[in-house]
């Protein structure tokens, strides 16, 4: 059993999910309150990783992370290390790759939050952080959990992007999906079975959890 690959995958998914939540919450909030004819363009850009082959995204990221590109050079000057084929590159790639999975549930949650709640909270002199903590976030709690769960699951199942920008370096970029591919190539079907089963069971239970959460309406939202 490749425990280091499993641990690396969990670390990557956990860190990516955390970063995604930090970025996706303000972006989704802004998108849900923004009306412009350019909104469709922004929405399309956010949704692009849903439809692009992961190898296309991985290819462009590989170019962007190269030491002679702007991002790669900037990273090199700050950290003193190259970006491509590192764990950090995988985190960057995962955040972009899973971005729509975080934004879309949150966007739906925020869009459903009726402006009356916000007007009322403001009228009753509640400061902005109290409005966020007591009114907005509880209202979108199911969406938050679904966004985090989907981001995590999607990052665990990532293959094409990792292959392009991470390669197969044990302890650095060798995540479960890459290890599985490697074992199959080496005709180690026993090890491949183990890894495949771990991914299958994990993903299934995560999705069951998410659907259960979605079906069980935790909060009733009546405008009256």
């Amino acid at each position: 059993m490749e425990f280091s690959a499993i641990w690396l995958t969990l670390k990557l998914a956990g860190l990516s999910t955390l970063l995604l939540m930090l970025v996706a919450i303000p972006v989704s909030w802004w998108l849900s309150r923004w009306n412009s004819r350019f909104k469709a363009v922004v929405q399309a850009c956010v949704a692009l990783p849903l439809v692009l082959p992961p190898t296309v995204l991985g290819f462009y990221l590989l170019l962007a992370f190269a030491p002679d590109s702007l991002i790669g050079e900037l990273w090199l000057s700050i950290t003193g290390e190259r970006l491509a084929f590192t764990f950090e590159a995988l985190v960057f790639g995962s955040v972009i790759y899973s971005f729509p999975f975080a934004v879309q549930p949150l966007y739906a949650g925020f869009a459903q939050l009726h402006p009356h709640y916000l007007h009322t909270a403001k009228m009753l002199n509640l400061p902005w952080h109290v409005r966020l903590q007591r009114v907005v976030l509880p209202a979108v709690r199911p969406s938050l959990l679904i966004a985090a769960g989907l981001s995590f699951a999607h990052t665990v199942g990532e293959f094409g992007v990792v292959l392009m920008i991470g390669g197969n370096i044990p302890g650095e970029t060798r995540v479960v999906s890459i290890a599985l591919f490697d074992q199959v190539e080496s005709l180690n079907y026993g090890s491949a079975h183990q890894l495949a089963a771990v991914l299958l069971v994990f993903s299934l239970f995560l999705l069951i959890g998410l659907y259960w959460l979605q079906g069980r309406r935790r909060l009733k939202w009546n405008v009256m």
Partner: protein, 341 residues
């Protein structure tokens, strides 16, 4: 008081200019559904960023009001919090924690504190919303059908306590489809039609227009008698009106000794030119002040009793109406089934 509000809500344009010679404490607003009453209140509460509000009420500049609090269907409770959670959150951020108990009792919410917001009935929801609004320490309280789901006794009981609690410092604008709510609590009245104010003035003048003025067709002819509860026995209150007293069925919880308003629809008042032995509970001696046409078939007879004005309706085809003289002594009879608040 001067108040001018313009707002645009889709195709609907609101342009309401209110102006009164005296400064109202409680201003009632009536108007048909879709006339713009709610849009007007929402603009005053700051819900509509595109609305333009100007004017002054007492010394307050209405365009700079930061404590206008609305109670309506558009001010939902926060569903993530219980009833107590909603009230405490607002009280804490308005330095009103010391007043929670008083306000909860005033709004009859004591038994609701541990409940979740989705477990409340319509009337309970309205009471909690009112309590929460009071805890926001309003300078201007905007009530938009805030009592519609409560029964009459509860509604008048809360209105009576609310008036006493707010005193003259908090100004109130109340929208209600039930004119009785407005008559029992407001001192001024405004009528709104299709986004415009068509009439505004002191309640007594609006309900009983002076000689030569046309009564407003959207207002019922109701007199308001001011009196004091002398005693209550078996659900019947004796109320002193000047030197005389009347008996009225009373479901309210207004304490004995307090002043009350008795609403007397003109159609309920029977006039007699001699003190007969008519089998009515109440009889007041009065003098005729004027007889004015009310509609094609009816005339309104204004009488004065104990210094207070009353109105009765008589049919025009009754020739005796022409014999009534200004200053003539008459007796007004009415039953004890009247509204008290």
């Amino acid at each position: 008081m001067e108040c001018h509000v313009t707002a645009q809500a889709g195709q609907f344009a609101l342009d309401i200019a209110l102006s009164t010679a005296a400064e109202p404490n409680w201003l009632g607003i009536i108007g048909q559904s879709g006339a713009g009453k709610s849009t007007f209140l929402q603009a005053l509460a700051g819900f509509n960023a595109a609305a333009n509000v100007s004017g002054r009420w007492h010394s307050r500049d209405l365009s700079k009001l930061d404590n206008a609090v609305l109670v309506s269907a558009q001010t939902p409770l926060f569903p993530a919090l219980s009833v107590a959670g909603n009230l405490e959150l607002v009280a804490r951020h308005n330095q009103q924690l010391d007043n929670v108990k008083t306000i909860v009792a005033l709004c009859e919410c004591t038994a609701l504190m541990s409940r979740q917001t989705n477990e409340l009935s319509g009337g309970e929801l309205q009471r909690v919303k009112l309590a929460r609004a009071l805890l926001a320490n309003p300078a201007l309280l905007l009530l938009d059908e805030s009592f519609s789901a409560m029964d009459r006794a509860l509604r008048f009981g809360i209105l009576h306590k609310l008036k006493a609690y707010l005193g003259p410092h908090v100004k109130v604008i109340m929208v209600s489809h039930d004119i009785n709510d407005i008559i029992v609590s407001c001192d001024h009245l405004s009528i709104i039609e299709s986004g415009h104010c068509v009439a505004c003035g002191p309640l007594s003048e609006m309900l009983n227009p002076a000689r030569g003025q046309q009564a407003n067709a959207s207002l019922p002819l109701i007199s308001v008698l001011h009196g004091e509860i002398e005693e209550r026995n078996m659900g019947i209150s004796r109320i002193s009106v000047g030197e005389t007293s009347v008996k009225v069925v009373d479901e309210s919880a207004i304490p004995v000794g307090q002043s009350v308003r008795l609403l007397l629809p003109a159609s309920e008042v029977t006039l007699a030119t001699e003190n007969s032995t008519a089998l009515h509970t109440n009889c007041l001696q009065a003098t005729v002040q004027s007889v004015v046409p009310y509609s094609a078939t009816q005339s309104a007879v204004k009488i004065v009793c104990e210094g207070q004005e009353l109105t009765a309706l008589l049919d025009n085809y009754d020739s005796r109406i022409n014999t009534l003289q200004d200053g003539q002594l008459v007796w007004a009879y009415f039953s004890g089934q009247q509204t008290l608040a």
